[in-house]
């Protein structure tokens, strides 16, 4: 079975209309238990979903388990899925729930908590190096209110469209907009306070 071009792209953060409509076509075939459509969806969605799971868990091992479980769920639920709703959004929602489930299990076992990177220092100044910017951004995203953080991650890591984010989180498109703009304003302030500006970014 062939991987789609979209899947092998190094830019999973975009979801061109053609890719989305292709995914919806695969969903239709999947409803008829078409295994090639299932594999094509894996090719198309697995990397953005892995990135998203990574953003939520920071656990290199768990993310593959999460993805496997999410796709198994897709296969099991294939007949119940509404072909008019974006499968991308549905899968992101499943991954999100599984990631939080993983988080709950870990918390019970007193392991590291979701979205906390133990390698990161507590003081931004001390850890501020070029390569630390990613960690800083990650932490700032963590500081956002939960719903805003989710919108932001779905957009940033998952590359979901407004419509898909709205579907995934069951909120309005306008709310998605507001969260994204507010999230960016917040990050811009944080970046500036750490010496980043439009010139040196």
């Amino acid at each position: 079975m062939q991987r789609s071009n979209h899947a092998s792209s190094s830019q999973p953060t975009s979801s061109p209309h053609s890719a989305v409509s292709r995914e919806q076509q695969w969903l239709l075939a999947l409803r008829e238990a078409n295994t090639e459509a299932f594999d094509a969806l894996y090719g198309s969605l697995s990397e953005p979903l892995l990135r998203y799971a990574w953003a939520l868990t920071r656990d290199q091992d768990a993310i593959y388990d999460i993805i496997q479980e999410a796709f198994l769920k897709l296969w099991q639920k294939r007949a119940e899925l509404d072909p008019d709703l974006p499968i991308r959004a549905w899968m992101f929602r499943v991954v999100r729930n599984l990631a939080y489930k993983t988080h709950r299990t870990r918390r019970i076992r007193s392991e590291v908590a979701l979205d906390i990177d133990p390698a990161r220092g507590d003081t931004p100044e001390s850890s501020y190096r070029g390569q630390e910017l990613d960690h800083l951004i990650h932490r700032w995203v963590d500081e956002m209110p939960p719903r805003r953080r989710e919108v932001f991650q779905l957009s940033r890591v998952g590359g979901l469209s407004h419509h898909e984010i709205a579907e995934t989180l069951a909120i309005s498109s306008k709310t998605v907009n507001n969260h994204l703009v507010e999230g960016l304003r917040f990050l811009r302030i944080k970046l500036r306070s750490h010496g980043f500006n439009e010139q040196n970014l």
Binding site: T13, S46, Q60, Y64, S161, L180, L187, L201
Partner: protein, 328 residues
Amino acid sequence: MNANMPSSQDPIRDALGALDDTERDALAHTWEAVRTDGTWPGVNAQRHADVRAALQAAIREETLPRPDRAPHRAPIPRAGRRPLAWVGAIAAGVVLVAVGLGLGLHRATITAPPDRAQTVNLADGSSIELRPGASVTHSRLRAGTPRRVMLTGEAYFTITPGTRFTVETANARIDVLGTQFSVKVSRPDGATEAVTEVYLAEGSVALTGGATEQRVTLAPGDVSHVVGAQAPVAPSAASHADLPLWRARQFTFEAGAPLRNVIAAIEASYDLRVHVHDPALLDAQLPFQYLGRNVLPAPQLLEDLCQILGLTYRPTSDGFEIVTVPTT
């Protein structure tokens, strides 16, 4: 539109559309700075391929259990007989008890119904023939790692050569490489410890006692067993009693055999109990030799026998009861 504005396919574009130019440009810059998660370690190609292979194997196996002999349907009751409702329910259920369902979210259990054996065919060509009432649990569907199943009850394994395979029981582990063998896990009456017995038909297996890590290697025709947490006993040549005769399920009862012997044979082959309402019936003798067909579901066997003896039977919570109520 500023040149730094994200592309038209970027999800941020609409969000910034309503802002004034200055802020839009500033936030577009911010977006460009944060849009990539630089901590992302990248796709681990091996894990990615493993998950893909495991998923493909899982959806292939979803159709399991696939009986290769006996149909799952309950026998159609004859007029005047009570329908075997519970048999139907079990057969219909057949008891793909899947934890997390069907494909098993990492775990799937297949249990043979109490009145017939069940064969589980694995994607690599291996098969597991479950004795009535036995069950196996797949512990994980990840390609590239040895297949590992947990067994309760008794089963006969035929493993494709070259396949790494491990059977775990309550108190032992059997490591396999392309072979045929049977494993029986039981708790003898009154015993608290599990007993795992292994008979090797072909190839080679290593048996490890759960708590000891001591292992013995069996040659074809050997048997060995593990009692509780002890080390496995030294392998020895199998006797007739060690052979997995339940697989053949050939029922041959000589003329004059008392019903009690017939019932004992049925109970030994199936995971069910046969009660007799009137103890005097246990001495009822078969008027002629009975040759049961190979792989006969229990209800069919009972139906034949009851017809011969002029009796009838009805299902109970744990099997059947033979009674003298005449059929009309």
